[in-house]
Symmetry: D2
Subunit: 282 residues, 4 copies
């Protein structure tokens, strides 16, 4: 059995020794450790993967850890057991490239998750869902139906015990309520190298400014638009000869790749959020 | 003899044929042609390199071109003859890495120019100028001496017939007067991927926002700070574990490379400015 | 109507003027010109896009061009009219990621072609073909059936008037006969930065050598394995901590992107082959 | 005081706990830990930085560590104290760009080392050494003087207690004897993405093959030419229009950057060699 531990707390001497001892005494073999100290804030971060040759009571282990270590150091911590696959919901609107990419990766065995359903405010992509054999829920969002639509979304998310949500170019603002239900569990792909060109139509703005690179940013969604913790970014070179249409087309590949990398880091529990920034473990 | 022609005008049919014929009839061999149409604005751009086996009167050619073609198409055009090396002035403050890089390239024969002098508002880098055998002028800039300092700069620039200026991390605002004297001939290196993190301390802002890439932007200086036409940009990957100091250090290499690329494009007459954007010919 | 002209011939003075005049006189508007001289071999290359406001007899134009220009300069030339979509056949074996990627792009409207069918030596990917609604032909290849299989392939290619073939991780050697039928029209994706790690299992070799980058190469297939003209290459950073499995997974994204870029360049008639190298027009 | 520990040994349970405890008990604060298991070979690697608030007897600590831990696990280990700056010798021939770059970085305070001298088989770069105020030894190497030259080199290296050597485009084969004296302490920059284009004139070979990327590789020198453990690699995009001269020029920037990165990793004790591959700690 494999357990993944994520920790952050105030930095002090001896944490690593104490934590590694804790698992060593319980016959855990540490197969992976990555640690980082934010010296500016004096905060300690660690990710640990432990392998145990036999099954045992995880809840008891959690209790032990809380009492013997976590309380002492006032840790913010999470312990994940690879008991089951994470459940990921996909939100889309009309753009299909990210959806094709995620579903292609999913079918190719690249993403170790379940995808219980796709939600969209439009019906356009229903055939893709069908081709990949994933349930598709069409929940239109208008000014008048916004709250009702959100209720439907939440009810589906709960019914299927969704762990996290990916916004595959979902062109709607996510409500604070939904964000509060899934803190650091809603992943968006934005088509610019944030903080440049936040908001709508970034490719148009990039074209107008005459930049020589375009980018894409995968980030956790927070209440403030396009200002959440950045998980991953990348860029592509462009030139004066590229039209806005060219940027949109080139940007697609960026969006797909950056989004997929961000989603994978999340699935592997390699992200930790602190002060609106991410720590990305190797 | 080699002539380089840069053109822009309203797009219409037949320009390429007419221009290429013009040089063909005068026994010029077109060794290079690059053309681009900005379809949004309906503007035509072209860069042409012509080789002539014998010397002749360039001023007469300029007159011919103006009368027979340029007036017809209402062209904005420039014809450069490789008669002499361009003269480049370097402005610096205290940071030395860009200065070392430019001078290293210059001495290694990479930049086909003359460097008549270095101007600085501080005395710190005088030893480097001396080691590389370039005259160094210390012109302090304070609130009170600003105008006087500018006059000294201008007088030196004129005396040495400087063609263009590079700001190698020169930490002063360039006055509108100087900009007006050298339109699209003052090149700055800014240490961020503009338009993100314009202004002071971009590495500090990048650190605070938690971006996963940092960048550098080489651009022509205009009256609006960090908003001039972008010549070249590039980025480097960073991670949560990089301190501000790390960003500054990583950024140095970016700044050097992006700056050098921009300067070279300018020297080779491969840049053209239109609507606050650059056309970069191959 | 838009015509695309590709030329190469011995370099000499006046070609550009003569060719641009030819189209200008016929009321063609040159919307794009890209030219390059290989000074080592003294060879001239040019790509021209002409727009004509009215329809006319292309065959007559071809004849005119041949007589009035091409013969004089002993040109190797091709003139393409955008009359119809190119027909692309896909060959696959068992790997599905490149297939998913191509078909996703195709359905998303990114590739302006027809895909009459997919051929595979295995049956595994038939369901994907079905999901995307593309005919799938299972043609097993064994030592004994090799020649027969090839005949079946050729007969399908002819029946459907296939213009070019893409090998989406097709794990079979292409016969000289097939290559001869489709010179510079069979596109392969190889999972290394060629010429490093040609042949089988490049990721295993890369792992063993301890390289810090892996790559992918899109190239035209020639008789010599993995030695054909390179259309496009790119790389990704890896580290000591990446297992062979990691390389294979990271490599997938590279393969998909580099393959797609190469295919698009081919579709847009932006490639020209000379001396086993490609000229890639902008 | 800060100590850096590098370890490798057969992988087994409990190593991390035992090592971290060892330092914890001695009042060391682990400020950095990076660990990696090569599962293929079952080998464990770890790098640890410990901070101690007071001075103490390092030799005693070394003995303790050897007896209480290293022997048990049959570790290959090194413990570095930041007592003094490393001493780096530079070998050059005629190319100056890497030399300018290293010396520029050195003077800018980027490399935390001493450079006691530069050795060259030619006299050309003596003025650069003088400008940067570094002793320069001209030791010509011919067929007849090879052994004698090597003796002179070795004698200088010993006299100045050189820790490691960098070959800044030194165009001579390093003898087995010198390699044996400085195992994994001679750093070379090769101007290709190895293993492609090993040996002489890689840019010429790259041009001939028509690759779309060129590269540079920083590696430790071993007896087999260009086959030593790779520390760092990077690439730059090129096109058909680049001449061999262009490749050489573009490659310079690559060489400088990749070389500098490799040298820094070595200085920071972040490299470990195993099975002719490097482990690069973060």
């Amino acid at each position: 059995m494999r357990l993944t531990l994520l920790i952050n707390c105030q930095d002090t001497s001896g944490i690593i020794a104490e934590v590694t001892n804790f698992f060593h005494k319980r016959n855990g073999n540490i197969v992976y450790i990555d640690q980082y100290v934010d010296t500016e804030n004096g905060t300690f971060f660690m990710r640990l993967e432990n392998e145990f040759s036999s099954e045992f009571d995880i809840d008891k282990l959690r209790l032990d850890f809380e009492k013997s270590i976590a309380q002492t150091y006032k840790m913010d911590w999470k312990l994940f057991a690879k008991e089951r696959l994470l459940k990921m919901a996909i939100f889309v609107s009309k753009y299909d490239h990210c959806l094709y990419d995620i579903l292609g990766r999913y079918k190719a065995g690249e993403l170790n998750i379940e995808i219980p359903f796709i939600i969209s405010n439009h019906n356009n992509l229903a055939p893709i869902a069908k081709a990949f054999d994933i349930p598709f829920y069409h929940i239109p969002v208008t000014k008048d139906t916004k709250i009702e639509a959100e209720e439907k979304q939440l009810s589906l998310l709960k019914e299927f015990e969704i762990d996290f949500i990916v916004l595959a170019r979902y062109m709607q603002i996510i409500s604070d309520k939904l964000i509060a239900e899934y803190p650091n569990n809603i992943i968006n792909i934005h088509h610019s190298f944030l903080p440049a060109f936040a908001g709508a139509k970034p490719y148009h703005s990039a074209y107008k400014r005459g930049v020589k690179i375009i980018g894409a940013t995968c980030h956790y969604v927070t209440a403030e638009l396009d200002a959440g913790p950045i998980i991953e970014q990348d860029i592509a070179r462009i030139s004066h000869s590229n039209s806005i249409q060219d940027l949109i087309l080139k940007g697609r590949d960026l969006e797909k790749i950056v989004f997929a990398r961000g989603i994978k880091l999340h699935i592997q529990r390699k992200t930790m959020v602190f002060n609106n920034k991410t720590i990305i473990f190797n």
